[in-house]
């Protein structure tokens, strides 16, 4: 068998291949540029994620369980309706009095969160005389420094932003749900419409514009305190909160190093 490639054919093939490559690269660059313009029109320009480090604090003694934060979060972030889709929610802890002579300090612990606390809480099923104590705990993404959810993502669609927010890239999320299982705090869910994982973004579109997250803005008792620890302002509420209170994090034994801090936390809270 005789192999023969004419000079003309060879040049045409090589030239075509090079032209194809160049046009592909050009198309990719152009697409990137167009996308950047489209995105840049709406996103704030002067926000540098390296210049901020956000921190969220809760004062459990101040939470009155009105559930307005849950409602505000759903409105602000267009979170799907339905009782299992929450970026933030309120839990009611109810600790019964111990049986006489049982030798323990507290009885059964009942935790409930009807519709995430969005419509408020119905009267507890336990009569008032049998309650040792009861309180509300607001929950959201714990903003872990060593986040388990970002470590398990097989496509790198979720990540820790330099400013401390843990975000999901909805364009790259394949909806496998590994991160939802990995989160020890149950802060993620699968959006039924987009079929991608979703979570608290700290209202990223608000904090980049100098606004507070919706739940912090709406909370009537300042049970949620939010601020930047890299650039504290004058009379910074977050610095005052950390000076005044002894703060705890949830599930510290897991080593996730959360950046949501709780004051006046009970040991039963998980």
């Amino acid at each position: 068998m005789k192999h023969f490639v004419s000079r003309r054919n060879m040049l045409a093939t090589v030239g075509g291949a090079i032209a194809g490559l160049v046009s592909l690269v050009a198309a990719r660059t152009a697409r990137g540029a167009v996308k950047k313009i489209l995105v840049a029109t709406n996103a704030p320009q002067d926000y540098d994620p390296h210049q901020h480090k956000w921190l969220m604090c809760f004062d459990v003694d101040k939470c009155i369980g009105c559930g307005l934060c849950v409602d505000a979060c759903k409105t602000e972030n267009h979170v799907p309706q339905g009782p299992t889709y929450f970026r933030t929610w309120i839990e009611r802890y109810l600790i019964r009095k111990p049986q006489p002579g049982s030798g323990v300090t507290r009885g059964e612990v009942i935790v409930d969160s009807p519709n995430g606390g969005r419509d408020g809480f119905p009267p507890p099923t336990v009569p008032r005389e049998e309650i040792l104590k009861s309180f509300f705990v607001p929950k959201l993404c714990n903003l872990c420094e060593r986040s388990p959810c970002t470590q398990v993502c097989p496509v790198g669609a979720t990540f820790d932003a330099p400013d401390g927010a843990v975000l999901v890239d909805p364009n790259y999320c394949i909806g496998c749900g590994f991160c939802i299982q990995a989160c020890p705090y149950g802060c993620r869910f699968l959006n039924p419409e987009t079929k991608t994982a979703e979570k608290c973004t700290l209202c990223y579109h608000r904090i980049t514009r100098g606004l507070k997250p919706a739940c912090v803005e709406i909370c009537p008792t300042e049970a949620r305190i939010f601020g930047d620890v890299k650039h504290p302002v004058e009379n910074d509420p977050i610095q005052a909160f950390i000076q005044k209170n002894k703060v705890f994090s949830l599930k510290p034994h897991l080593g996730t190093d959360p950046r949501t801090l709780y004051a006046n936390l009970d040991k039963e809270v998980r």
Binding site: V39, C66, G120, F159, P220
Partner: protein, 151 residues
Amino acid sequence: MVRPKMPPQIFRLVLLTLAIVVTYIIARYLLTPASFRQYGFYRGEALAEHASHTPVFAGRKACLECHEDIQAKLFKGEHKTIGCETCHGVGKEHADNPDVKLVKIGDNGCLRCHEASPSRPAWLKQINPKNHYREDKCVSCHVPHQPNEVP
């Protein structure tokens, strides 16, 4: 001295390896998003995409631009920690265009926070709606902006 000639099968293998490596490099270049590694091992554009959503709640500062008198009164009383939109609802449209009126608050708006519950902290003033005056509206006896005063 005669130089040892490269056997043709080895030459073909070298060509094949080179082709695979070059194809990999080109594919990686084409498939990696432009803003990858801008901040870390992910697409940096995703941050801007999250930031590009439009805020729904206007925020206290926006209300202060026109309603400074009400806020000055509010800041004296016990309701000073409450944001405007907590009771008055989403105010973005009203802030952008004052002709758009805010939705009126329902009469039971106060009960959302002030209904008695054993789970609520003791410092919060709570009422039991069954044995509290229910003939009238809350606002006929209480002033929401100055809760310490009597009308």
